[in-house]
Amino acid sequence: MFALVIDDSRTMRRIVGSVLSQCGLTPVEAGDGQEALDQLERLTAQGTPPVLATVDWNMPVMDGLTFVTQVRNDHRWLDLTLVMVTTESEHGQIVRALAAGAHEYVIKPFTAEDLISKLSLLGLVDENSEVLA
């Protein structure tokens, strides 16, 4: 199963992707929200839509909040789990992201355990940190 990792930092994409790989997911990287929408279209067209997207907030071209809003406005992606992974930690920002349709929120810096714990809460991985089919 595929997971979109959306962050303008290649370092962060690789850190998040590495954690998701450990859980049995196949990460697909995007450097901004627009590139992520393109990847989402591509994966959906080939019949393998991702089950998860981790979304940074501050990115060039299209920010993470806009991406979340656009995804939630498209019925094809109602099942896509959205997790914000960002430095934006103010209460108001968290509320905005959740109101726009994000399911969970991870604040940088985070450990692998922090991220896996959120995925477990969302029912994406089991107690052995392995992805649930």
Binding site: G17, S18, Q34, E41, N58, M62, T66, T87, E88, P109
Partner: protein
């Protein structure tokens, strides 16, 4: 870039108490945040050791600006060995051979996370820029508050500087403003 010299900026303790930046212009806060970011993303085993301020040689230097009612400049500079070590540590386990763009990206992302955590200590509504990373033979962090640290003998220096309104206006714009300036994206083609 303006050739006009900027007015002197306040040092720690020189801001009025009611200025929200006064409370975070504290080397202890900067060191603590740096250590949290470091131990989480870079090296949980080797603590950062405080050292005296010194120029950072063969430096990778990243800057982020916090815009809003209380603008701040956040700078993180590290020596070449520290920067390459950081990128290697952050990408450990990915199987990727680290290159110079990876090093720039890693240093920029650390500055971004440091800036984001500092922004969280300011009143809501502040906005962060994307990090700008430069390489220089020698960098002296010009700031009101400086945390100089050693990591395995390699030097890194973080600095905080409150910005005057005219300095903030001359700095890189926040991400939201950049996005507002960008022509409409291809989003419409996807629906």
């Amino acid at each position: 870039m303006s050739a006009t010299p900027m007015p002197p900026f306040p040092r720690a303790g020189e801001l009025p108490e009611e200025d929200p930046r006064a409370a975070i212009l504290d080397p202890a806060i900067l060191e603590e945040l740096l250590e949290v970011v470091w131990s989480t993303f870079v090296d949980p085993e080797t603590p950062l050791l405080p050292i005296g301020p010194e120029p950072v040689l063969d430096a990778y230097a990243a800057v982020v600006t916090i815009h809003g009612a209380s603008p701040l400049r956040v700078e993180l500079a590290m020596s070449g060995p520290a920067a390459w070590g950081v990128a290697g540590a952050m990408m450990a386990g990915t199987g990727i051979e680290v290159s110079d763009p990876d090093v720039r990206d890693a240093v920029g992302e650390l500055a971004n996370v440091l800036g984001g955590n500092l922004k969280a200590l300011l009143p809501e509504g502040a906005r962060l820029t994307l990090p700008q990373v430069d390489v220089a033979a020698s960098v002296e962090v010009d700031a009101s508050v400086v945390a100089a640290m050693s990591w395995n003998g390699a030097v890194l220096v973080a600095g905080l500087r409150p910005l005057l309104p005219e300095e903030a206006a001359a700095a890189a714009p926040p991400v939201t403003q950049v996005l507002a300036d960008v022509p409409p994206t291809r989003t419409g083609e996807l629906s």
